[in-house]
Symmetry: C2
Subunit: 617 residues, 2 copies
């Protein structure tokens, strides 16, 4: 039976691209669903055949499945469309035709001339910063399932129905773009267009704030530790490590030393760095599918490698899986399409990928890992494929990472471990609040600076100039000195209006980006700390477990030792976090204030110049 | 029959002041209405007798007459309370007890901490600046009586019911505080409290904008030429001069010379100036009545004279009556009580009286007039009384002022006269629009600078400081350099918040005051130019008048000559206006920009200092 579909939105074919023009309400027959890249081949009533964007149509059997910004799960009837694509259906858009639910967002790009609709690339609303998407709610005893609100609108939401009473609820949730398992490793790597699709459920709020750039914070606000290689792990939790027979095999050891500030990771002699640059558009499938490839050049080899966003995502998944229990791995910049123009989007994504890579390079454990080194220094396609396969087979993942950690110090007692963990939990929660406050305030300030404020300076400038032209019409002699000066003063205020409107990109942008990055990073701590809290709880009930013969007395000793190791890892990680934080905030505040000083000095200089033209003889 | 009254508001007697405490709703018996100064003697049900503020009570026979912010005319039953007091009833307030309709206004004084209710002393709303109280509507053919909307809510509104089709409608309207004629000259000069009463009809909007200061613009936006010494003048208009037998008597001549810029008044060798200073509170009537006396010191004699506001008002009325047809005489600063504190009010009134006096001193015709010289240099009470009597008997007032003008130039033909008049009309109308635009924009800017903007800088400052205290709690070593710097940066933004909130008083204030003054001045032009337009119209119909034997052919020649004289006067006045305008705007723009430069430089310096505390080692 021929599969029929209803056209949801008008679509105009681009000449020469094998596309089919369709009208809203039209019924078409699907002739090939296996095109991929968000396209479907269809035939209209006149017998014409061509490609149509998938999310412009609605399958007749599933009348509502493809409609709107979806919290709906993908319909099973779609057949062999790759399931990884499904979560992106609703906001998919080919470059030549903006998807309908992006039109609003596109119309809201910040321009000094339309200041009533100012756009800040950060946070759709202050509420979101302080309430919504709050990964910290895991620690609040919210019986209504608040711990899973990060993913409430996610298409994979059906997997996240765990009760908040289960502290592992958030840990066991699958990442929305989680790697699909070894079976998928040789697949098409999907289309780069997928990367530019809006993640379902964000589309609505995206339109609300103009969605200028990626809202990394929303997406990055929590790290979801993917542990699906270990079925039932969510129940057994950290016992896997606490009770494991270790050392299992010869592994890379992760030593921890006692430094001046306490336990510290072993830092490489020279800090790794890399440059993400030179985004290039590639295409395949007769030009229908295109993707962006970034050039990443590590400082060590100085030899560039190319990677698509998908590859970054693969790396992220590997790092999360391997280190996530010990080290907060911030999410990649969001996948959403938020830039109105492709170049803007690519530039912003690149900037954020650079930020992400820099943070990973700076981390002594992550940067030295095989998988990270593979990503930065693979020699050729074969090398890459082999490395990938090996990384995906790595079994020292999840809590087992702790089995590689070797603290060069005495074991800590459970009280100390507990107290340290509580302290870090409090600190990261408090900092998360502080960072969100800056983002909220910055967002408000951004709106004012690009909205009403320049409009007002413009009006002041215009008012001076208008009065100046009235004066010019007086017919009175010797008017011109005043009118020239007033016109100049008016123009100066118009220039100030422009400066004000442009300033946030020069200073507030950095401040927001850094805080946004920290918001993402801090969003990972509840999960990481959650692993530790669960381990501590297990050790606390060790006596009971011994009494009921669930574990041996020797197991209890082992568990106590291992939770001490975990604590050293957490302390080393916190110390790493603190030292980076101090550097980052010093730096961003310097940048911010430097630009602010320049801004005010420039205004003062301009006004001084304007002032000099007036004269009272 | 005893006159009864209902108490509208609670009033607490001040000890030793012969006052009577009354409660809202209480019925009292009036025992003496002739106390004056806004007080009435009354007896309560317990037989106690004392003074009660008039506007705290409502006469039983006239239940609504005294209630609320009144557009109601004063009730006739009030008896022998001086009629000059009546228009002030509704907002009357003794110093110790704010009138009920001021309470709101008092709560709205601008403070950085309550920026949601920002106050600008200018304009209650942009609408008002652009639409309401528009004296220029005289020139719009608005059949609905738009020309009298200045006085729509005025208690003397019953006199202003003229049709807008009558171009003299606005000229013939009595000034709301118009001098009551020679019969009143020896009266008590009323009480200074009268000066501080709110003019009826403004009370409501006053509460709306916080009523911080006087809204000079509202009041001063039109000069109402008082010509009630010449009954029926509104019908005969400029004919009085055009057809008068002149020269009537030996008068002071007002020569007009041809200067570089065209016709100019004869300017004195040294420009008169004076200083209004040292306001002193005086009192009479057992301390119940008090008044403010200002010291005015002319630069010529350097000998101070004292005057109360009433005296300024008398002077204004004399100048308006004498020169208003030829020279725009701006109204005095408003009479309203608008300062929350008496000192603030007195300071503001003094500042504006100084501005008014300076403008009058600068005017070559006004400053040399007998009445102005009397005001500035009277020797003693006797001298003052004699001078007053003489001034009030002056018959060279209204259009007759033109009979004293002697242009040292050839007569102008009617076409030129008409064209000049049109040009000035256009210019002053255009400038009025431009000035109002600046006032509107400035008002908006004032609100933003004292409202949301500092609030935002405060929040930025607080956000930095909050993050700084979170950092302090990290327990990590070497935190203090960053946290000290962040706290300092946060405090700097709080300082900036304060600077922003205080800045308008330093710069915008001057700009607004000058434009407000010009708004008042420009508001006089429609009347002044109206006199000229009416004269031109008369001359235009001279042929018809000759034909119907209403005037002789000789009269026609005289009229043409006289309208030429009027034109020279108008041109001289315009040239005076232009030269002052150029000086004033150069000066105010200099002041404004100077303060703006200081403002931005100070901010830059503060931020530079904050910047220097951050360090990236």
């Amino acid at each position: 039976m021929a599969l029929k579909a209803q056209v949801l939105y008008d679509f105009s074919a681009e000449p020469g691209n094998n596309e089919l023009t369709v009208k809203e309400g039209e019924t078409i027959t699907i002739t090939n669903q296996n095109i991929g890249g968000g396209w479907i081949e269809a035939q209209n009533s006149r017998g014409e055949v061509g490609l149509v964007p998938e999310d412009y149509i609605e399958f007749s059997q599933q009348p509502s499945a493809f409609q709107g910004a979806g919290t709906t799960a993908p319909p099973p009837s779609v057949g062999n469309v790759a399931s990884a694509d499904l979560s992106f259906f609703d906001a998919y858009a080919p470059a030549s035709t903006p998807a309908p639910n992006q039109v609003d967002a596109g119309g809201l790009s910040p321009q000094p001339d339309t200041p009533d609709t100012p756009v800040s690339p950060y946070l759709s609303s202050p509420d979101e910063a302080s309430n919504g998407n709050d990964p910290w709610s895991v620690w609040n005893a919210d019986p209504s399932g608040g711990s899973s609100n990060n993913w409430a609108s996610n298409p994979e939401g059906t997997q996240t129905g765990k009760s908040a009473a289960d502290p592992w609820g958030s840990v066991s949730q699958g990442h929305p773009q989680a790697y699909q398992g070894p079976g998928a490793e040789d697949d098409e790597w999907d289309d780069e267009w997928d990367d530019m699709k809006s993640t379902s459920g964000y589309a609505e709020s995206e339109a609300g704030d103009g969605g200028q750039f990626q809202r990394g914070g929303t997406h990055a606000s929590a790290m979801k530790i993917s542990l699906n290689k270990f079925p039932g792990f969510s129940k057994s939790g950290p016992e896997l490590y606490l009770l494991s027979k270790q050392p299992a095999k010869g592994k890379d050891k992760l030593p921890i030393y006692m430094g001046e500030v306490g336990p510290v990771w072993s830092y490489p002699e020279t800090q790794l760095d890399c440059v993400v640059a030179d985004p290039k558009k590639g295409s395949k499938m007769y030009g229908l599918k295109s993707y962006i490839e970034y050039q990443i050049t590590p400082g060590t080899t100085n030899r560039p490698v190319n990677h698509r966003y998908k590859h970054f995502d693969w790396l992220y998944e590997r790092l999360l899986e391997k280190f996530g229990s010990a080290i907060p791995i911030p999410s990649l910049p969001d996948k959403q399409v938020t830039g109105r123009f492709e170049e803007e989007f690519i530039k912003m994504r690149m900037e954020r990928l650079q930020g992400w890579m820099t943070r990973m390079c700076r981390h002594p454990v992550v940067s030295c890992s095989d998988v990270f080194q593979l990503f930065l220094t693979y020699k050729d396609e074969k090398d890459w494929k082999m490395g990938k396969r090996k990384a995906e087979k790595d079994e020292t993942v999840g809590v087992m990472i702790f089995s590689t950690i070797e603290p060069d110090a005495q074991d800590l007692d459970l009280g100390e471990v507990d107290q340290k963990c509580e302290q870090f939990s409090r600190f990261t929660k408090a900092m998360d609040d502080g960072v969100k406050e800056i983002l909220t305030v910055g967002h408000e300030h951004w709106k004012r600076c690009t909205g009403p404020l320049p409009k007002e300076y413009q009006r002041i400038g215009k008012a001076f100039q208008n009065l100046s032209s009235v004066f010019t019409s007086s017919g009175y002699q010797g008017e011109s000195t005043l009118t020239d000066a007033m016109t100049a003063a008016g123009k100066t205020y118009e220039e100030i209006a422009q400066m004000v409107a442009e300033q946030p990109r020069k200073d507030l942008h950095c401040l927001m980006e850094t805080n946004n990055e920290y918001k993402g990073l801090l969003g990972c701590f509840p999960d990481t700390i959650g692993v530790h809290k669960a381990a501590i709880d297990k050790v606390k009930e060790a006596d009971k477990l011994v009494a009921t013969s669930k574990i041996t007395p020797q197991d209890k000793v082992t568990m106590a030792k291992r939770v001490s190791t975990m604590s050293y890892a957490l302390q080393a990680e916190m110390n790493h976090f603190h030292s980076n934080r101090i550097y980052d905030y010093n730096r961003v505040m310097q940048l911010y204030l430097e630009e602010q000083v320049k801004f005010y000095e420039t205004i003062a200089a301009k006004l001084k110049q304007a002032h000099s033209q007036f004269t009272t003889m």
